[in-house]
Amino acid sequence: MTALLQTEELTRRFGKLVAVDRVTLTVQAGARHAVIGPNGAGKSTLFGLITGAIRPSAGRVLFDGHDLTRRPDHVRARAGMSQTFQHSSVFTTLSVLDNVALATQRAAGRGMRMVRPAGRHATVQEQAARHLELVGLADRAAAPAGTLSHGERRQLEVALALATSPKLLLLDEPTAGMSAADSARFAELIEALGPEVTVLIVEHDLDVVFRLATRVTVLHLGKILAEGAPAEVRSDQAVQRAYLGDAVFDELFGAAP
């Protein structure tokens, strides 16, 4: 296996707070890699550093053999990174189909074509329609995205991310606010992806993580606390303490006799 994404000593300081502290992370090609950690562990900052939304204070981001540390977000997207946002981020006045077509037309290199009507780019439209069917939104294709329910927006978000045909799919708390049924449907969707798509998922919901992930990294106070297969991480005492805290652990499961 080869590494698709590597961070080297990646660091981000906000004033005196070190949100991400010398994180060296390797995501193998084809992996389903999860980053978990309690609130304030630096998960979202790490995510932003990888996508390019946040500039690092130090360290490097290597993707697919290239150093992308100083490259802006749209260059990283073109290199094959694709992401979903924690808070659904769609194009509210455009139809659901046009939303996804924005992704497929960029992937097809048609985003600056000025003559042919947008709807006549047959492959762009067909690929967009196929992605809508994949996430189960085909019957909402003509509706403005602003009229979608919260759950539907999350589905659209996933369709947008997949429609650029990414090498690396970055999911930032994808099941936040989803119903249990939607969550399960989402997990099926990710499980159905081929090995050509690598997935890095930042998630709060441990059920989803342990269902999907082949590898788990635990972040705590900006540093990597543990990394390994899901079963190893789950049974790690330090992880349990960090993740739940002694007091909360006791509260939830009762004090040890």
């Binding site: 996508t51 802006p72 977000d73 749209h74 997207a77 073109r78 694709s82 992401q83 946002f85 981020s89 769609v90 194009f91 509210t92 006045t93 455009l94 139809s95 659901v96 189909l97 046009d98 077509a101 924005l102 992704a103 037309q105 960029r106 992937a107 048609r110 985003g111 600056m112 074509r113 000025m114 003559v115 042919r116 009507p117 947008a118 709807g119 780019h121 047959a122 762009v124 439209q125 067909e126 329609a129 196929r130 809508l132 069917e133 085909a138 019957d139 909402r140 294709a141 003509a142 509706a143 403005p144 947008l160 650029t164």
Partner: protein
Amino acid sequence: MSRTTAPPPILAPTAPARRALTTRGLVAGGALLVLALLPLFASANVADMLTRVLVFALLAISLDLLTGVAGLPSLGHAAPFGVGAYTAALVAKHLTTVGPLQLLAAAAAGAALSASVGWLVVRARGTYFLMLTLAVGEIVHVLADRWEGITGGSNGLAGIPAITLLPGGESVRLAGVLYWYVLGAVLLGAAVLVVVSRSAFGRTLRGIRDNEERMRSLGYATIRAKYAVFCIVGAAAGAAGSLWVAQARFVSPADLSFEISAMALLAVVLGGRGSLWGAAFGAALVVLIRDELSPQLGGRGPLVLGLVFIVAVYLLPRGFAGLRLPRRTRHRGDAR
């Protein structure tokens, strides 16, 4: 059919959508016919006034592509318009009386102005974009006023010869013939802008308007797209400037004043942002109020424009374009 696999059913247009297209085609065709035949019935004064409406409509449509479609509200659209007008005037006085050549030169000048300031301007967003375009408009205005050797200063450039349609052709002196020339040029310009708006690039611009962050995360170099549209509308505004001069045969710093920019933006708001044809109606209303109603009110046209603006914002939040029936396609998803 050469295609082996049928497109997914959700891409097929529905019967109501097709019917709506036919209806729109008929309405558009009828409107064009009326516009083309008007000089046969109207007086020279009316033809002059309609010519000004058409020119302003092209300016407003180009601003709508920038503001309504791409989400970049400009308060300096008079700058490329005025630069185009001065360019056309200078070309007419010193080089050629051929109208289409003046038009091309003016479009090139408008695009050149936009290209030179655009790199900086399109990096700003929202209010900052508004302020930067305002600044550009004011700077160009002051330049026109002070650079007397070229622009004639506050006196402007007078004595511009009437245009000819072809090299060595006859001068166009009849208001009706000039109207037809302007109508043809405006329709051509508007058609180009509509094609751009409906293209994949137009969809890109709408995406940027809705959510620029997301566009970048999809891999779009959004600055490049915004720069491209800024230059395109600059060219269209410059072309409109040349048509303005072809009719007025005079140009002064007033033609690139803040008032022109504000009127163009008002026309866009009245018409309903992003619909393009709505902006043309807005332009007609604005020009009629300023040129026809204002003299009867002792020059209080701007006051009326202000009142119209307030009323429009309250009663027609989506402009004239919002008056049409709700789009049928909007209910398609719910109906199933």
